[in-house]
């Protein structure tokens, strides 16, 4: 699933990434919406989505809560909502089918999304019993963003580092319904790619190429069935790092949320080889031996150890 993401471009960067400076004509509630960079976008919140109106790309604020119509709900209860739509069955389900047929496709632009690993330790993900009893707080959140793995990207990318990659946008396929006050959307999910299966079995449907993005947005030329089959596929073009559990609360906000996780005092440390090396370095009794040119590239280390 995809239940939390980050969109922290400035308004100008967002418009550049979206390829448009046009914002949709505001509906009632949209008038009160002001775009702000966010590191912790959660369901029920409002973010700008990219869509096409009369063949032109526009940005339009929408609320992340897709209403399910035709389901009965008790007095005082809110109508049921969903935040994710399974790509495999979207064409079969009435509520999504009608939105798809009406061409209500849009794109969530994000810098990255968050996922909580299915188990606190990779390798235990098969252990269903443990997952059931595990709370979100005891699981490790990961920030997942665009990874550059294709050779062609080498030419026009200057020095690459983690921050560079985080600045590359993710385009997540979404579906929305028209509402009088403000449109509401859900994000498509697909089976997780092999690369990320260990973390979770679903991932958002990411539009990887300009062709896919164009086809998804071109609701007039590209019928729903074609768009779903052509565009909604698992992708391997992602990388991630573990982040602090502060992202688990929707109240928290700020750039620290996407920073690589450090072991928190008194908390269970992440089962991460990097932090394990750091811990070993800190507490190892031979630490005084490691003061000078101690950290060498490993091939040197090995030659010394042999």
């Amino acid at each position: 699933m995809c239940g939390r993401f980050a969109l922290y471009y400035s308004r100008e960067q967002l418009e550049r990434v979206a390829g448009t400076t046009r914002w949709a004509d505001a509906k009632d509630q949209e008038k009160r919406y002001h775009y702000q960079p966010r590191y912790n976008v959660a369901p029920q919140q409002t973010v700008p989505l990219l869509r096409t109106v009369s063949g032109e790309r526009v940005l339009q604020p929408m609320r992340w809560a897709f209403p399910i119509r035709g389901r009965t709900f008790g007095k005082g209860e809110s109508p049921p909502i969903v935040i994710n739509v399974r790509a495999e069955t979207a064409l079969e389900k009435a509520s999504f089918r009608s939105a798809l047929d009406a061409g209500q496709r849009a794109v969530v632009i994000a810098n990255g999304f968050y996922e909580w690993s299915a188990a606190d330790a990779p390798g235990e993900q098969q252990d269903v019993g443990k997952i059931k009893t595990m709370t979100k707080a005891s699981r490790i959140p990961y920030f997942i963003y665009h990874g550059v793995t294709k050779r062609e990207s080498k030419d026009h990318l200057a020095p690459r580092n983690a921050h560079d990659m985080i600045d590359r946008p993710l385009f997540m396929a979404a579906l929305f319904v028209e509402e009088t006050e403000m449109n509401r959307f859900a994000i498509f999910t697909v089976a997780a790619s092999d690369k990320i299966q260990w973390m979770h079995n679903r991932m958002p449907a990411l539009l990887e190429t300009e062709d896919q993005l164009q086809a998804w947005l071109d609701v007039e030329q590209v019928p729903a069935r074609v768009a779903v089959h052509r565009c909604l596929q698992p992708t391997e073009q992602i990388v991630w790092h573990p982040v602090s559990n502060t992202v688990s609360s929707v109240k928290n906000e700020g750039p620290s949320l996407i920073e690589p996780r450090r072991d928190e005092p008194g908390k269970k440390p992440g089962l991460d080889i990097r932090s394990a090396f750091a811990r070993g370095l800190k507490r190892s009794p031979s630490a005084q031996d490691l003061q000078a040119p101690e950290t060498k590239q490993m091939r040197h280390t090995y030659q010394a150890n042999r």
């Binding site: 990779p122 793995t149 080889i273 010394a304």
Partner: protein
């Protein structure tokens, strides 16, 4: 230009088998001295490092250091097309975006070649602290594989403790528990079966058996395996390939709840 000729395809096949289930894509760094690879698994819990020294090849030539980004599954598919005793020449022209695999049968009556597209893989190189280990164990790699495989039937993680009595591997699962103890060998009749334990300080840590099982896929590469442990630092499992190089794995320890309360 980069060119390396392996005397036997079997070695390269075994190396790939030992890595490809842990890491999908990796960069082979080819320098004058040899080929190295360092990669983390997807979950970043373990790290694999490979060294193949230039002198271990029939022919080895690097004009300019090259980084070959390769999908290991694709490479493994290509390697399956080689007979075990074929020689394998891997070469890449400068600026090319593919690498060539040339297989030649021992009596030179059959040749086949495959080209594999290279990838641009982002990978960070971890600097491994040159630490002293609290305990070092050397044992037959088949013995290590057997222990890991036996204990995997009972649970997910193994507790390795080194003390004066020897090395104890303990597993606890829902159905029960089990343990294996190894002691320092006294006889020297069969040095290849000997178990050597060097303990500077007692140490006890838990590790995910799933990863240890993947590491043991390297057992066919080397008759002997070395395990090195330190408090809080990653475990090191090393398979040395004589004069050719080594394949080594690091694994982050599992931190149990009892450790946190300390």
């Amino acid at each position: 230009m980069f060119e390396a000729r392996f005397p036997e395809a079997l070695l390269l096949k075994k190396i790939l088998e030992a890595i490809k289930d842990l890491v999908q894509d990796a960069n082979f760094e080819c320098t004058e001295s040899g080929i190295t690879l360092q990669a983390m698994d997807n979950a970043h819990v373990s790290l694999v490092t490979l060294l193949l020294r230039g002198e271990g090849f029939d022919l080895y030539r690097v004009d300019k250091p090259e980084s070959l980004g390769i999908n290991l599954n694709s490479m493994s598919k290509i390697m399956r097309c080689a007979a075990n005793n074929d020689t394998v020449t891997v070469d890449k022209l400068e600026g090319a975006d593919t690498v060539r695999f040339l297989f030649e049968s021992p009596n030179a009556d059959r040749m086949s070649e495959f080209h594999l597209k290279l990838m641009d893989i982002d990978s960070e190189t971890l600097e491994i602290p040159e630490s002293m280990y609290h305990a070092e164990i050397e044992l037959p790699s088949a013995e290590l594989r057997r222990i890991v495989s036996d204990l995997s039937t009972m649970g997910d993680s193994v507790r390795i403790s080194v003390s004066k009595e020897g090395v104890r591997f303990t597993v606890r699962g829902d159905e029960g528990s089990g343990s294996v103890i190894l002691r320092q060998s006294t006889g020297v009749d069969k040095p290849e079966e000997a178990i050597h334990i060097v303990m500077n300080e007692p140490v006890e840590q838990s590790f995910a058996l799933k990863y240890l099982n993947l590491f043991c896929k390297a057992a066919p590469l080397s008759a002997r395996a070395q395990i090195k442990l330190s408090k809080d630092a990653p475990l090191l499992v090393n398979f040395s390939m004589n004069n050719i190089g080594y394949l080594a794995y690091y694994l982050a320890p599992k931190i149990g709840d009892e450790d946190i309360e300390e």
